[in-house]
């Protein structure tokens, strides 16, 4: 098993609140969190910008409960796509550690599974899944090492959404058999976060087995980070981005080697 990771902390411009959430996550035992920047390109005036460097958030990152290490914070981008034209990787993508996509239609879900260069595909939890999960795209995503994400916070907030969350999750599990699933929070407030063992138990409601449920907050999230790393480094074969784009050096220092750093700091 790997360390516990929550890959979905909602981004907010309220720095204090963001700090509170991250502190709570560290207190609950998460070793890594990702701040999620959601972009819905259908809405006007939405464009993908560069994320703020996480080092601006804290002078000193909070220590993970019961460990001697500080929590690691990453940046994540979620693109909501309702038309194929929405998903166009740009240079800005590179400044995020993880790229997620939230496909709104079956066609886009298929495309996201089979061809989009992403790490995570989000599953709807606030509405009824508008289409059935078909086996070929789901298997395709599993083969490509792309993960499906279920967020649990809407299930805490509202009874109707709770039903959608559980039923969409169950319907996904019928197709993917518990493989390549991550469970993350999507928290906007500190009190919405739950401990990693609690989430592992919650996973049983989503149709995951005991082992799969624990992997969904640990091992699988680690795989997502590694996938994010390989996406940036041409399948992990080369890692020469700094030299190609010298202008991005500062950014790279902060973000790109996060996983490598993770390895080193795990020592």
């Amino acid at each position: 098993m790997a360390v516990f990771i929550d890959l979905n902390i909602s981004h907010t411009t309220d720095k204090k609140r963001l700090q509170d959430i991250i502190e709570t996550a560290a207190h609950l035992g998460f070793s890594t969190v990702a701040i999620n920047h959601v972009v819905d390109l259908q809405q006007k005036k939405q464009e993908i910008g560069k994320p703020k460097s996480v080092s601006e958030l804290f002078d000193q990152f909070p220590i993970v409960q019961g460990k001697s290490r500080p929590i690691k914070v990453l940046n994540r981008l979620t693109v909501v796509v309702s038309e194929a034209s929405h998903f166009r990787p740009t240079n800005e993508f590179k400044s995020y550690d993880i790229i997620a996509v939230f496909p709104k239609t079956e066609k886009l879900f298929h495309a996201a599974c089979m061809s989009f260069d992403v790490d995570i595909i989000c599953i709807a939890v606030t509405e009824k899944q508008p289409f059935h999960f078909k086996r070929p795209p789901v298997n395709g995503a599993i083969d490509r090492g792309v993960f499906f994400e279920i967020s649990y916070v809407p299930a805490i907030k509202d009874s109707t959404m709770r039903r959608y969350t559980i039923s969409n999750a169950l319907s996904l599990m019928e197709t993917c058999k518990g493989k390549n699933v991550i469970v993350s929070s999507g928290a906007e407030k500190p009190l919405e976060l739950r401990g990693p063992y609690d989430i592992a138990n919650l996973g049983l409601l989503f149709g995951l087995s005991e082992g799969d449920a624990k992997a969904a907050v640990s091992t699988n999230c680690r795989a997502v980070l590694l996938h994010g790393e390989t996406r940036k480094t041409a399948l992990g074969i080369i890692h020469t981005m700094k030299k190609i784009q010298p202008t991005m050096e500062g950014q790279e220092e902060d973000n790109a080697p996060a996983v490598k750093r993770a390895k080193m700091e795990a020592v």
Binding site: M1, A2, F4, G66, K67, Y197, E210, D212, K214, V267
Partner: protein, 361 residues
């Protein structure tokens, strides 16, 4: 109705009944093989003040050290092995590392160094090891055992050198450690002190807390009847009661109570007062052994009670439970044992483990 939600993780409880005077009794082995103990609590019924001899045993528990950021290879260095480890039994366990998440390291008094490491570290280390028993789908955790007392990895051999190189240069593992040594005889403190002085370290004493509990209902015990049966309570009921007393749960509820219906198992008597003495820290099996010996002597003089109990909790994040049996953490890392010492030198021993753990010996 929801059958998938009604299962729960497995647990094991081994119960033994024997007599301390029995030559074949293995109580001392069980104690000695449970290397990393976190807490011990003694419950003596009908006792208001801690007996002075018991107090001195409890206060005499070996001190331990919290060593910050210690490179793991230091535990394998010739100097350490010869001067520190060989002159007593040394125990070291990485501190603030979680067995289900991080690299966890333990040094046993037998000379074995156990590294329970994640996949990345294992691949980086390049040392031979076994896949952990508690993996899911893909192996994510490996256990590397380096036994410097065995011939093949003895000081100066090729494999020893390789292990040193791996831990020093290839993958310089570091961690905070809890470390303690039980001295056999003679003053060898010097070597340990000089080792510790090279590192950022803090000396700690096991913390002792003593409480007197009043008016407890208490199940009737019959030393001959371990499994309960008939009218007596079974081991699980007894351990539940022991737990309830230790954490201060009310034991005399009505069955119709709304909040709790817990009740001390029948048939029950009552205790006017009981002594609860708890020691916390890195506790050595040797100390626990002498505590147990002292508790046996408690019955040398006539007492109001016919039994007393001592419970020992292991570290939840230790890579081993008994001996070198691999220990893991699924939803909880419980590994504990509990003696019930009877007036006639009979004893019960209950050993419990959780999901990711082998069967107690």
């Amino acid at each position: 109705m929801f059958t998938n939600l009604e299962k729960c993780p497995r647990n094991l409880l081994v119960c033994e009944k024997s007599c301390f005077l029995n030559e074949k009794s293995r109580h001392d082995i069980h104690v000695a093989k449970h290397y990393f103990n976190y807490k011990v609590s003694v419950l003596i019924p009908e006792c208001g003040v801690i007996p002075s001899r018991l107090r001195s045993v409890v206060n005499g528990f070996t001190k331990y050290y919290l060593v910050r950021d210690l490179p793991v290879y230091k535990l394998l260095e010739e100097e350490f092995l010869e001067k520190v480890a060989s002159k007593g039994s040394i125990y070291a366990l990485s501190y603030n590392t979680k067995i289900d998440q991080d690299n966890t390291i333990a040094l046993l008094p037998t000379g074995q160094l156990i590294l329970s490491v994640d996949k990345d570290t294992y691949e980086e280390l390049g040392l031979e090891g076994q896949v952990s028993e508690y993996n899911h789908r893909q192996p994510m955790r490996y256990v590397v055992t380096i036994d410097v007392t065995s011939k093949s990895v003895a000081l100066g051999t090729k494999r020893y050198k390789r292990a040193m190189w791996a831990l020093k240069e290839k993958m310089p593992l570091r961690s905070d450690f809890l470390l303690a040594r039980h001295n056999i005889a003679g003053d060898e403190e010097g070597a340990l002190q000089s080792f510790l002085s090279q590192h950022n370290c803090k000396e700690l004493r096991p913390s002792v807390s003593i409480q007197t509990l009043k008016d407890l209902p208490c199940p009737s015990l019959d030393p001959a009847s371990l499994r309960g049966g008939g009218e007596l309570c079974d081991p699980h009921q007894f351990l539940e009661w022991l737990g309830a007393v230790t954490i201060g749960v009310k034991c005399d509820n009505e069955a119709s109570n709304f909040v709790s219906t817990y009740c001390c198992p029948e048939p029950q008597g009552s205790i006017s007062q009981a002594l609860l003495c708890t020691v916390t820290g890195l506790l050595l099996p040797e100390d626990i052994h002498s505590l147990l010996e002292e508790l046996r002597r408690y019955f040398d003089e006539p007492k109001f009670t016919s039994w007393l109990s001592v419970t020992v909790h292991g570290f939840a994040d230790s890579p081993i439970s008994w001996g070198t049996t691999e220990h893991g953490y699924h939803k909880g890392g419980e590994n504990f044992y509990s003696f019930v010492v009877f007036k006639n030198q009979d004893y019960w021993l209950h050993m419990g483990t959780g999901t990711n753990d082998g069967c107690p010996p």
